[in-house]
Amino acid sequence: MLKLRVIPCLDVKNGRVVKGVNFVELRDAGDPVEQAALYDAAGADELTFLDITASHENRDTILDVVSRTAERIFLPLTVGGGVRTTDDVRRLLLAGADKCAMNSAAVSRPELINEAAQKFGSQCVVVGVDARQTSNGAWEVYTHGGRTPTGRDVIDWCREVAERGAGEILLTSMDRDGTRSGFDLSLLKAATQAVRLPIVASGGVGELKHFVEGAEAGATGLLAASVFHFGQFTVSQVKATLAEAGLPVRPTPSFFQAKPRP
């Protein structure tokens, strides 16, 4: 049976983790690679780097971070932030990313989704959808970190990105993001019913039970940032909570045991 994915998200700015727990065993708490290695050992099912580097000149630092991470960690890695062209996608994939999340650029030029899926395969094309509820109970797509309204309906946009060849949707509730009041469950239900693609829920986790609610609303990936970074709870606590609720999780893998044959 396919397992739910618990996905820690690291905000990376100019090659450094923006918010992160100060683990004592870390030589460099601000190094995304060190943080990623900890989550790997802790049983994370995937990792997401969100590059929030403001200036275009510093974009290459994320490539270095991705490359150093991929050398050490053999887990699927999604990278988002600033992905504008298929060249951006190619450079991230070559550096070692497995999936690229595109958001604002996909809204302003939706053909980017088709082009990336055609060139590199749907499996690596994630479309990030930032949603904000409107007064009539629907949701509107926002871009540029939730600042710019687009007039697009979230559910229509989810259907469109699926048709254009995306392999996954990373659905963030801008209303819930940072509130710790739980995922927007009605948004998740509406989106998971509208498309067949796997949907990663993001925005609002503050308690362990929120992961259970997100999974029950249809998300197959559950992303969180601050609750992990600030050490509020561990990946294993999340998995234990999901398992107690009867939901499928991957057990934390054992250590490598390969021995050369005589």
Binding site: L2, P76, D98, S122, G167, P251, F256, A258
Partner: protein, 222 residues
């Protein structure tokens, strides 16, 4: 004197070559094996390699075309595998081992594994299958030794092998029914899941592959 094991990771513009190469190097390191990993499309490299890894991402037809477009590459793979070089296909690389693929038209594969690559039939499930799923072993095999309890692989696919011979199956996974996850015919093997992204389970399988001495040859390669 121990010779360094040469591993050819086939470069045919088909996907995450660096990840596969890095994982193979790491698996060699972890199992105390001297190895040199080369990302290559050179027929000579492939013929001289001790191990061949064929990664793959994207669509079957595009990958098959990519293999054909590098002069002499496909022939070199056929020659080497016929001579007994252990081969591992990953994801679409595994799918290319089948007789044909039905993604973007009907395209011929290597034909080492009986059957075809068709859309998965799981109407109530999300598509693609994306994430960790448990490996259910249908028989013991050197590639699956030492994996521990309830090993999982990382899958990303919406097409899968069907109509294969039961004896080529080593492991299946459950996605709306059993889906071939690891197949083997003599010295050629393939995983539908991404060994290079399957953490310790994947590294263990890669280490097993590097240490593997197949007892038989692929009966179709001959």
């Amino acid at each position: 004197m121990t010779r360094s094991l040469s591993i050819a990771v086939i470069d045919y513009d088909g996907g995450n070559l660096a990840s596969a190469a890095r994982a193979a190097a790491r698996a060699a390191e972890l199992s105390g094996l001297a190895a040199s990993v080369r990302i290559t499309s050179s027929p000579t490299d492939v013929r001289e390699a001790d191990r061949i890894i064929l990664p793959g991402q994207g669509a079957f037809a595009d990958c098959a075309r990519g293999l054909e477009s590098a002069p002499g590459l496909k022939d070199a793979i056929l020659t080497a595998t016929r001579a007994g070089t252990p081969f591992l296909g990953i994801c679409v690389g595994m799918q290319l081992m089948a007789e044909r693929g039905l993604e973007h038209g009907c395209t011929e594969g290597f034909g080492w594994i009986k059957g075809e690559i068709a859309p998965m039939d799981a109407p109530s499930l999300r598509m693609p299958q994306m994430g960790w799923n448990e490996l259910n072993f249908t028989r013991p095999h050197p590639l699956t030794e030492g994996l521990g309890a309830a090993p999982h692989g990382y899958f990303v696919h919406s097409y899968a092998l069907r109509h294969t011979r039961p004896e080529t199956l080593v492991a299946t996974t459950d996605y709306g029914g059993p889906v071939p996850a690891l197949v083997c015919n003599g010295n050629v093997a393939g995983t539908q899941f991404h060994v290079e992204k399957s953490q310790t389970v994947g590294l263990q399988i890669l280490a097993n592959f590097l240490n593997w001495t197949p007892e038989t040859l692929c009966d179709v390669c001959l």
